[in-house]
């Protein structure tokens, strides 16, 4: 497992602090993370439901990183994570095989497919009153682009977005929306082309890794 020093944003005092990006997590980390994050996710969902705010329940509240950890037995999957203050602040699982670009100029060429991306519950405004750290998603997306470059995929990324996450992928990451995918629970498919990746990488320089 290799580690890279990074900076993340601390919301409380608006400072930039040191953190560590781990580029290859062991399955046991995902099991530990799930043990810590799950109760907070579920409590939030219950609370919002009891207040009649079902529409605000995070759509990923039933994700289970422990259940996903088995995928890491395969070379095709990799999980990255950000650690700060001795806690995992965000996780990203990618699939390195089988994803093909749908957009020109690289239609049919390999890309890194984002399986799951989640920021720790204490970093999300819907979960806690005062989120601790910001920019976790952007740092992980930048790491995914770097991984795509390392794989020789020219920064290309693809993913299916939950509706609540679409704004992040469309606006913050400037990915292309390819519309709902009938073959994937009708979730919208988003893609970052090599040109998008170069722009995203250059725009996020200094603000992330």
């Amino acid at each position: 497992m290799s580690t890279i020093p990074i900076k993340i944003y601390q919301r409380l005092d608006k400072s930039v602090i040191d953190a560590v990006l781990h580029t290859e997590l062991a399955p046991s980390v995902l099991i530990d993370v799930e043990r810590e994050w799950r109760p907070i996710r579920l409590a939030t969902a219950r609370e919002l439901y009891s207040q009649g705010r079902s529409g605000e329940i995070p759509q990923h509240f039933q994700w289970d990183w422990g259940a996903k950890s088995g995928k890491l037995q395969l070379l095709a999957y990799r999980c990255l994570g950000i650690e700060c203050a001795k806690k995992w602040q965000g996780l990203l699982m990618v699939k390195l095989t089988g994803g093909m670009a749908r957009l020109d100029p690289d239609k049919g060429k390999d890309l890194v497919y984002i399986e799951y991306l989640e920021s720790a519950p204490w970093n999300l405004a819907v979960m806690v009153e005062t989120p601790l750290y910001g920019g976790i998603g952007s740092v992980l997306m930048r790491a995914a682009v770097q991984l795509s470059y390392d794989e020789g995929f020219h920064g290309r990324l693809g993913l299916h977005a939950l509706p609540q996450a679409e704004e992040f992928y469309r606006n913050d990451c400037e990915m292309h929306s390819c519309g709902p995918d009938l073959s994937y629970e009708n979730l919208p498919y988003y893609e970052m082309t090599r040109n998008d990746a170069a722009r995203f990488f250059s725009n996020s320089e200094g603000s992330a890794i």
Binding site: L74, A76, D110
Partner: protein, 71 residues
């Protein structure tokens, strides 16, 4: 798992090398990347077949399905 790379010599026939080179050119990646992808796919398919799943190719337009037999 480790990021440390190990080197090996690969002996391929002329036609195998031609296919490898063509795939690398088509996908715009190195020959090493093609082989790396092949290993990942082989492992993934083998893992799924070993638990009783099937590998099926489907042509929706032609309404055709074909199961790939992996030995």
């Amino acid at each position: 798992m480790s990021d440390i790379k190990r080197t090996m010599t690969l002996n391929l026939t002329e036609s195998e090398m031609q296919v490898l080179e063509a795939l690398a050119k088509q996908k715009e990646v190195t020959k090493t990347a093609v082989i790396r992808q092949a290993i990942r796919i082989y492992q993934m398919i083998d893992a799924r077949l070993s638990v009783g799943e099937k590998l099926v190719f489907e042509d929706e337009a032609a309404q055709k399905k074909a199961e790939l037999m992996v030995l």
